[in-house]
Point group: C3
Chain length 172, copies 3
């Protein structure tokens, strides 16, 4: 016995409805916009579609770069660019453990303290020099939204910068 | 040949299951609560239902308000209220490009620096005076959650305030 | 008349597709990872599955602990540990009103100011002493990601700490 055309039609309709629902939930991708002409390694907006997994990360500080330097000194951790590189390499490992990469990061918050070598001002240029090797580069063009500013103190003596981030991945 | 009652019933059941799934995923709305009696233009909580699009925005600073004033001075950008208004107008445009409005904003972070005109204290009253024209007003009653505090420095000389936000929109 | 095997098979297939869709959207749980050997009451990462409700909370300050102390003094609100406890108890109530508990919190940001009793340094040990009674304890083992640092000023005189959080709950 064969399926009647009516039943077949109803089942196909049901199947299409399922496909549409699935499409509505899963087809979208993360969309990033930048200010026209901006060279900053940041997006203006990052839109995360419904039905995305969101992964939050604790703020991270740099690892010791120079064990010979006095403990808790800036020399032990290096300048801002060195510390940013150390922190972003940490995040690469943390992201990998979640099946993610820096390309999946949607939001970054950077908290800097005054750099003694710059008269107590934050080293914004040093941040961007290191940061743009990892975000908005030829190898990894995706740029998260970002807020970067100077706070009064970080919980680690010698630390010049702490970075916090959020990643997202649309459900497959 | 006609559809048998059994098949029709099964198909209808399947259709209802689809509708329920769709409803569970899409029917909810964003819910905002405020502290009883509070006049602050902020919500205590904002609950974003599952299956919502979430849009992250970079921190934004004010545009120059007075081009005749010295570059990088507070006079160039105006007082805190003027700067907040400038920033929120920027966000209105950024939100519009995402098909959103200030009514869709769910979370705001405000980072201020000390105002020289206030002995180095942040101008919290100036923030709220401008802010409440855009959030919790008669024209736009929705209030995001908010944290507002004073940091050590912002990346733009003359800037008194930087604002970061997140918006959300339940899937239709 | 009985359902033909073909139709039955098609309907079952459709039913399984529905179940799988539902499973993909709802089965996952929030996953938390910690740095190996770390005693800090924080997670390194918290992964929130697609189709989760996300609840944002405004930054909260402590309630007055000692009404006999001068208004706006640190004595009125107590030391950092006392203030953290006061704030987390507030959050317990705010969470309960959303049908949530501290176990559902995924992300915490702690903003401290210098403690006069510590020569103007933030009381990080005081934060953790109180905080670890509520997060990562035997009674409530879940630990959110966290960033904790010192800012220049909070909007409440006498306040030593402000806490902001985000909670999430996978759709049932």
């Amino acid at each position: 016995m064969h399926a009647s055309p009516l039943f077949t039609r109803l089942l196909i309709t049901g199947g299409l409805a399922l496909l549409q629902l699935s499409s509505a939930a899963h087809a979208d991708e993360i969309k990033r916009t930048s200010a026209p002409g901006s060279k900053a390694p940041i997006s203006s907006t990052v839109s995360v579609p419904a039905a995305s997994r969101i992964v939050f990360f604790s703020g991270n500080l740099a690892d010791v770069a120079n064990p010979a330097a006095p403990q808790g000194s800036v020399e032990a951790y290096g300048n801002t660019a060195t510390q940013v590189t150390s922190i972003l390499k940490k995040f690469e490992k943390l992201l990998a453990a979640e099946g993610l990469t820096l390309a999946d990061v949607v939001k970054v918050n950077v908290f800097m303290v005054g750099d003694p070598a710059l008269g107590g001002k934050m080293d914004f240029a040093g941040l961007n020099a290191a940061y743009s090797q990892y975000f908005g580069s030829a190898a990894q063009p995706n740029k998260p939204v970002r807020t970067a500013l100077q706070v009064a103190a970080l919980p680690m003596p010698g630390g010049l910068v702490e970075i916090e981030m959020t990643a997202a991945k649309p459900a497959p």
